[in-house]
Assembly symmetry: D2
Homo-oligomer: 440 residues x 4
Amino acid sequence: MSGIKVVTIGGGSSYTPELVEGFIKRYEELPISELWLVDIPQGKEKLEIVGNLAKRMVQKASVPMEIHLTLDRKEALSGADFVTTQLRVGLLDARAKDERIPLKYGVIGQETNGPGGLFKGLRTIPVILDICKDIEELCPDAWLINFSNPAGMVTEAVLRYSNIKKTIGLCNVPVGMRMGVAEMLDVAPERVHIDFAGLNHMVYGLNVYLDGKLVTDQVLDILSSGASMTMKNIVDLGWEPDFIKALRVLPCPYHRYYYQTGKMLAQQAEELNEKGTRAEVVQGLEAELFELYKDPTLDIKPPQLEQRGGAYYSDAACNLINSIYNDKNDIQPVNTRNNGAIASIPHDSAVEVNCVITREGPKPIAVGDLPVAVRGLVQQIKSFERVAAEAAVTGDYHKALLAMTINPLVPSDTVAKEMLDEMLEAHKEYLPLFFHEERV
Amino acid sequence: MSGIKVVTIGGGSSYTPELVEGFIKRYEELPISELWLVDIPQGKEKLEIVGNLAKRMVQKASVPMEIHLTLDRKEALSGADFVTTQLRVGLLDARAKDERIPLKYGVIGQETNGPGGLFKGLRTIPVILDICKDIEELCPDAWLINFSNPAGMVTEAVLRYSNIKKTIGLCNVPVGMRMGVAEMLDVAPERVHIDFAGLNHMVYGLNVYLDGKLVTDQVLDILSSGASMTMKNIVDLGWEPDFIKALRVLPCPYHRYYYQTGKMLAQQAEELNEKGTRAEVVQGLEAELFELYKDPTLDIKPPQLEQRGGAYYSDAACNLINSIYNDKNDIQPVNTRNNGAIASIPHDSAVEVNCVITREGPKPIAVGDLPVAVRGLVQQIKSFERVAAEAAVTGDYHKALLAMTINPLVPSDTVAKEMLDEMLEAHKEYLPLFFHEERV
Amino acid sequence: MSGIKVVTIGGGSSYTPELVEGFIKRYEELPISELWLVDIPQGKEKLEIVGNLAKRMVQKASVPMEIHLTLDRKEALSGADFVTTQLRVGLLDARAKDERIPLKYGVIGQETNGPGGLFKGLRTIPVILDICKDIEELCPDAWLINFSNPAGMVTEAVLRYSNIKKTIGLCNVPVGMRMGVAEMLDVAPERVHIDFAGLNHMVYGLNVYLDGKLVTDQVLDILSSGASMTMKNIVDLGWEPDFIKALRVLPCPYHRYYYQTGKMLAQQAEELNEKGTRAEVVQGLEAELFELYKDPTLDIKPPQLEQRGGAYYSDAACNLINSIYNDKNDIQPVNTRNNGAIASIPHDSAVEVNCVITREGPKPIAVGDLPVAVRGLVQQIKSFERVAAEAAVTGDYHKALLAMTINPLVPSDTVAKEMLDEMLEAHKEYLPLFFHEERV
Amino acid sequence: MSGIKVVTIGGGSSYTPELVEGFIKRYEELPISELWLVDIPQGKEKLEIVGNLAKRMVQKASVPMEIHLTLDRKEALSGADFVTTQLRVGLLDARAKDERIPLKYGVIGQETNGPGGLFKGLRTIPVILDICKDIEELCPDAWLINFSNPAGMVTEAVLRYSNIKKTIGLCNVPVGMRMGVAEMLDVAPERVHIDFAGLNHMVYGLNVYLDGKLVTDQVLDILSSGASMTMKNIVDLGWEPDFIKALRVLPCPYHRYYYQTGKMLAQQAEELNEKGTRAEVVQGLEAELFELYKDPTLDIKPPQLEQRGGAYYSDAACNLINSIYNDKNDIQPVNTRNNGAIASIPHDSAVEVNCVITREGPKPIAVGDLPVAVRGLVQQIKSFERVAAEAAVTGDYHKALLAMTINPLVPSDTVAKEMLDEMLEAHKEYLPLFFHEERV
């Protein structure tokens, strides 16, 4: 590989400048010669705004990286080395529905492992599997690196239902946890290491190290004494100190949805009244960002972007691509085939776990058994992800209902059915497999 | 073994006449020469009422089975062949608290796998482990057959924390499901066979057979078209037909607590207002039964007993003892060491599964992987049972809190802690391990 | 099913009268209306001799079972309920080569798990898979019951490489072991029960029971004190008493090939000089049997047949078919999909293990972990079986060499290659997949 | 940790100068302030010769590392950070018996996984477990790094039968394989990476990489075309090219004992006649080395030492200690607790596998299932190691016989017993657990 070709599908995203900045910073060791930003016709305007900013950034940095903007995915994919996907099928409007409809039924939407995440998966997975078919044909040696949520469910689907083996799902939650711990300990993040294991948005820090020494107990003590470790897009409701002491592993921010369901729901209902859904808040932020991006004198990533929830995503992505390209053998938490790393989860299922990152991909580090107390919840979300992925590829109504009902945020089969029916109808145009008559 | 000695701990229970009737009916092939009914001093009066009825029943039936009544457990256990345990530490008053306190927090109590079940386990397990120590000393070859709830958690605890290997946990739910299916199909129960697998009160019928032929789909169709299969002590709220179609295995009545949490909670809250807790309803029924039992002319099991929730318990128990004694090699669903029968559950954990019943005990039939959709919930309850059992033997507050919080019926860590604290206080006298100062 | 149709492929075998006798004896509960004996053109003469004897036997017994003789497999299979296969591709001449060639290299041939077994598998598996295709088309609900050796490898191949799920491999070794133990204990065989687990011809008796009580230690003491438990076709060289004491489980006669390789080899070399190969001895016995069968006055199974090695085979087969047909739920050791019954062996691999026999097939009883000491050898033979089955379906030379080299009876890669090359050449006409130019 | 204290038990070994050289070279990043060389009274003279050389080496290199020589193990261990063990209980005389006695019976002795290895284990394990007890008492935070053979069996024993969790078994075979591959490819060893997995002296290279790119096929082609990859102390008999093509993974030199048993045996018998056992050859080499070491002007590691078989051992050891001390998170193949890394081997058993080396020890990289073809042999050696380790800690004659008989190099139970009896007698003085009357 020399003169790396990267293709970013969903290139018109407001996150793209972070990615471009990350590639520029690493150009010396990661010489990307072509970056193709791909989007769909509805995203043409945003693609051009972001793409032009990207071109200015590259020029300003004086790196010989060509920026290509296109609506022709196949043209872009041909001969690619890395393909990144950052899709929002149905855009933020769809996410707003994922959040708003469940709340009507007294249920948290949750765009990854909840009812909202189910629908994001139903919309996204068929598109990703189409991309997989293109990759198989046009760039069979490329790595597919997916940031689109629900990243765990998407990785599960790619592993089970495509012919692509070189795929990795990426999430910024583990990086955020590391940053949070570093802050708690008041040390540089590089000195903190965490043994991550679980599923996407359901990942635990089994052990925490400072300079290689175990400090898990110390960190849990700080956490249970009130320090917050949170992410911009999840309200910090705090943990019950005795619960953290009891758990003995570091939860991720998304665990609040499961260990504090009642509180989170109340909070979301309140926010909805005040500010609208998170999707709607983000729509406002995005509009502002695109206004900034349009400024023809802007030739760096604007600092306002960092306040958006997805901090560290691009950093995680650039590090991952860099480690693959340079066979770094460093350790990063990613979503990949379990291969026995976490006991009791099938070898061929996706997990989020620390891996050694090599030129031939991630090799998961064996975790053995998860602690008894967390094993059940992880298995429950894995059941949900698998049934949901099957629903997404088959368009089977009953599989979708099953996924919805077994989701731990959903209070009953009846509510599940009512929400399912309403959400299917609301997202109809993005769910062709569920509405066969539409396909003729 | 000739002249079998059976010891029933908690012999003063209102269920005992069923057991006695079962033994009388099977006397020919199961020649029990001594039946010892044991109880604690507080239960002396009931023990005498029930015991005297038992004596009249035996006399009437003209079988040479001696009935012994005692408060001295060690005297009774000496040389026993079978020990059955049907305990209620704290009696129905304690159960009423297990049900009433959680409802204050908007949580279902559920006396087996819910918050109530956690406390029943915390009270019961130390007593059962004491009995195990006595068995080890006084009748090391005896079989310990436990009917006390939470039967799954108790079996887990005996397997992990005692030296008794010959132990079986027994439940009437599977028998009830078989009866229910027979009724749906309008056939004799003997013609119905079900592949049971899961945990106690969390057991699924993976396949249903009529005369050995698979009829699962047919049964699920009937069930989803509205037929009820329920037990006396669980309200039948009906299943969402599409959910049953989606699930593709037969749920047990207790699954309603997990798949219909919202509805069950509403129902319980309503019932509480109208009739009090289930425990309080049962207290009324029991009082009536004991009035009947006192009648010196009564020498058979009174028919009113059958209306009590625990139907089939004694039948299940007598069949099990009979099959062990006579090495019948027939198939019965019991709680026993998994030994690999259900994939992903540790070999040394308790499961409820169809077993071949032999003189040397139950041998589980291999199930392989549970269906993806149900695997998660089963694992979650198994996590709960294991953490709860550990809390029970250690008296560790944080383990108890952990068990409470990870229970799927509990909405948050904060509610968990509040309920835990109130319930610990309410049951203080039966939880010496949690109140060390009391033990001095 | 009424008026059962059974098809026996390889119906011209000298064993067939046993099978016919078994069906006649069980006619009352197993009403077979048609028995089709199928053979290939080269076997026509034998088929007629045996078939006519079968007709006389049925007439004599006055049971209304039609005997059909045919060379047209497809005609026979149409609408069958049970298909039994007792093939010898290449007949006893091929077996003679399987035994004689390895001995030239100082290696035991062993017609099941040794180099001879590899070649028997390479010849047999493609034929069985062809039969599977016919079954799929002509009688998809039929049970395929295979007695052809190597029965473990054949079952593995059917499970992995055909669409037939309703298949069972059958062997007389476990029945022989039960008979042997009964003889040692001087009791009726019905009183003996053994927990069988392992692979075909690599099965152990983990526990032995008399009237349901464990007597394993007692039986091993007798065995180690010199009592023989053997089969007609394996020389009894006796076990080292201390080894049996050390092993603590009951080995099968074929284990001598692995635990007494040196002695068995010497014995076989000696026998070869004196009597020729076992195949050649059997050829003599068979010729005598067919002379007997020709006698038009013979209308029962001649007693001489019992002296042949395969005693109990037909009994095992008839019992199995009977238990399936009548949904007996009794326990029989058969070769079937592991499904987690034996830990560390893949769920989808064939094992030989005690099963509950039902109308929907065998359900294996969970064994858990095999004893540490025997686990390794079992895994090694399973590796051999799997690689050999893969070689058989692909005709891949290197897979065949790999299977040969990893076989524990083979002393080196070089000897493996020499034997392989000579045996491939010797069996050329029965190995079309390995000689592609032949196939054109 | 600052001012590291290292204790080397068996410090009088001729290998020690390599270790000292390794520590000197790394002093900058691995500042060892004290190196204690410990030996037993019989080894006093050698200890002093080697120890004085070590002192001269350190002085010459001007590093402030104190060299302590002692016969008092407990004094040495107090407060140690790292304990390395390089024991030879019974010295080379015992090894000569381990090799010579089996050859009398036509069996390869093999000092690690064969009959010789069994006896080396029986002599060594109790001594190592005594050291573990001392460590527990005197330096509970120390890492125990064992180079003594049989390293796999010893690690298994420490994991199962001691309270020491911080233990690692080390072997130079993987390093040698990497060097061999680098030579074949004519590249610097640093550019070669191999995915190692299996057991000690039974390790495979599952994948081979050059600069991070897979080159397994290329390497196997070179290997099968005749290139040798061997170790000084194993005769290179070459591999059958087609076998290597069939195997598709890189075997280790010790695999010749199993895949080329016949040839290896013939070779060893011949060598025995010509040169005596390998132990006797080594005795000659050692005598020469000690003569060199005595030279008071020698102050570096003499180059002759490299011709000894154990090349790279010390390098491996120094690298391991360095990576632990400095939390390097690099990848090294070591013997450690499996923890699920290799499927089908118990989580709590020792395996040899690539690990990330951290300050808190090695974390194995998940391998998943071993290739089918090699799984069986690996399991068989694991069975052998486990039974042997149990024999070593119990002194149970029957367990020892069982280990001997199930070893794949041993041709029969009878030969096993004869060898066992002769070897027990020959090693009597070092096997107190097997000769209880000696212990009084």
